[in-house]
């Protein structure tokens, strides 16, 4: 199938709109050929994951675009960077790293983007709407946007996201099109107690398990009686897109494109069906930990970035208590949520417990972790999965309450009663 370009696309490709749109369009066009798309289509917004600092290569790419005068042509939010711009000096971040990660922030800032610096852009005022065509990077955000909001984005890699934002165009294919949004792999929950379904701890585990079963296809979860909260969906989105190549899922009765099983499957038969019971869930929960007990050096919450609602649920658990001296208690969030905490007077309560906050980034994206941190406890499926590989630490997964109890006692403390 050959690619048909509009007159405007052709003009951009020839350089009539300037060198930056030309370079971005060259990349978009080559990717349209990779995807086998017949033409390009417009988008209304973008979320740029390319902001994360990996090394010289990504920085050179960003600065090349910036030096060519690149500007985004649609409202574009920014994902986490490689640096907490205001507070990095409080941590052992090497200066050389900070300088380069900051240059990358400056490059993306110069392109007329919105300075969100968060992996939960759907929890900002720039949240897309049902049916909107968007180009989003960041795996958890892609899953959330498609599945929970019903906006339409393909699973975009770093660097293609910014090219789409500059040109305002994407290859017309994949999840942008209704016919590709139907569920493929059926996952039926079998006798999962309601009390477990209601707990926050359930969603990273279920997401991890479903992503593993779905691999690169669209899963449909059926049998959930509890309606997940926004943050429970967030935890599910992050885990499902970590263990699988999942850019979209349906939860029958709870996500907007899945009022019924037939609707979720778009009238087709599933290509595969799985029954998931407590045994499978317990196994998935075990896989999220590489350590079971002993001392905890750090509790880490907030991947994706902690929302205001999550802080409001956390604060009562901390009230009147204090973490153990030799444990760090770190929550990663966006600068806007931090500001909201300040306005609501919640920062004091967090500080009295001994909480530290990091904004703009997270320990997976910036080398801030003190070298004496060897065992880390988290309530996040994404932190639990990536930390052993990226940070070389042992990881224990637990509920938010478990994390707080462990921070107070300094030892892994987990209440597994919901999983029995």
């Amino acid at each position: 199938m050959s690619l048909r370009l509009s007159y405007r696309d052709e003009q951009m490709l020839q350089g009539a709109h300037g060198p930056a749109p030309q370079m971005a369009m060259r990349i978009v066009v080559r990717m349209a050929e990779v995807y086998g798309a017949p033409e390009l289509m417009d988008i209304e917004a973008a979320h740029i994951d390319s902001t994360i600092y990996i090394g010289e290569a990504g920085l050179e790419f960003a600065e090349r675009l910036a030096s060519l005068g690149a500007k985004v042509s649609v409202p574009s939010t920014l994902n986490v960077s490689g640096l907490d711009e205001e507070h990095w000096m409080d941590w052992p971040v090497p200066e050389g790293w900070a300088e380069k990660a900051h240059r990358q922030m400056v490059a993306y800032r110069s392109m007329g983007t919105v300075q969100t610096w968060t992996c939960a852009p759907y929890q900002t005022e720039h949240r897309p709407k049902f049916g909107q065509q968007i180009a989003w990077g960041e795996s958890n955000a892609i899953s959330f946007a498609n599945s929970v909001i019903g906006a339409r984005t393909e699973r975009y890699p770093d660097m293609l996201d910014i090219c789409c934002a500059i040109t305002g165009r994407v290859p017309k294919q994949g999840l942008h099109l209704e016919e590709n949004r139907g569920g493929e792999v059926l996952v039926r929950l079998d006798r999962v107690p309601l009390a477990l379904q209601e707990s926050d701890e359930f969603y990273p585990v279920l997401g991890y398990l479903v992503g593993d079963l779905a691999r690169d296809r669209i899963p449909v979860v059926i049998g959930l009686q509890h309606t997940p909260s926004e943050d429970q969906f967030k935890a599910f989105s992050a885990a499902v897109s970590t263990s699988g190549m999942v850019a979209m899922f349906h939860v029958v009765g709870h996500t907007p494109e899945a009022p019924t099983l037939e609707a979720a499957l778009r009238g087709r038969e599933p290509v595969e069906s799985h029954e998931v019971g407590m045994e499978d869930l317990r196994a998935a929960r075990r896989q999220l930990s590489t350590d079971e007990g002993g001392a905890v050096d750090m509790v880490l919450l907030g991947s994706p970035h902690f929302s205001l609602a999550e802080f409001e649920a956390l604060v009562p658990l901390l009230k009147g208590r204090k973490k153990a001296d030799d444990v760090r208690f770190l929550v990663t969030t966006s600068r806007f949520v931090r500001m909201a905490l300040e306005h609501k007077g919640l920062l004091d309560e967090l500080e009295r417990f001994g909480t530290q906050l990091t904004v703009d980034t997270c320990p997976l994206a910036t080398p801030m972790l003190p070298p004496d941190v060897r065992t880390l406890m988290t309530n996040s499926g994404k932190y639990a999965y990536y930390s052993p590989s990226l940070l070389g630490v042992r990881t224990v997964f637990g509920s938010t309450r478990d994390c707080v109890e462990s921070a107070v006692s300094g030892r892994v403390t987990r209440d597994g009663s919901l999983w029995e």
């Binding site: 370079m23 060259r26 990349i27 080559r30 990717m31 990779v34 995807y35 086998g36 994951d49 390319s50 994360i52 990996i54 090394g55 010289e56 290569a57 990504g58 050179e60 790419f61 090349r64 990077g137 960041e138 795996s139 892609i142 393909e154 699973r155 975009y156 890699p157 770093d158 660097m159 293609l160 996201d161 992503g211 691999r215 690169d216 897109s241 970590t242 263990s243 699988g244 190549m245 896989q287 590489t290 997976l364 999965y385 990536y386 052993p388 590989s389 990226l390």
Partner: protein
Amino acid sequence: MGVITCRALVPGSAVGEALVTDVPFSFWGGYDHATGRITDVHHPLCGESAAGKVLCVPFTKGSSTTANVLLQAIKSGTAPVAIVTQEPDAFLALASIVADEMWGAPIPVVALDRVSFGRLQTGHRLRIEGGSVEI
């Protein structure tokens, strides 16, 4: 051993020893661009180096940053010499296309069908040439 027709997402030529897995992984948190080693502790190839080899992986899962990590590996000289996938993988293709755009240094990225992919074994010497993979 034969020639397999493939879809060249990013065409080119390369020769190298195959490193084959049927388990997908994320380059972010799974591939160390300083050494070329696979570092995902959940992956069976953890500890193996893919630098200079033909990496054969069904597709990449997880993070959007996979593309960024592969781009850095290409720049650092720690990338595979070519990548063979089972499904066309946009993340890997994009990294190679950007490497072409930036430095004129793409690596071939090609996709096979499931049956052909199943024929590949670690240790095979593979020659990628445009739209074909020769074992």
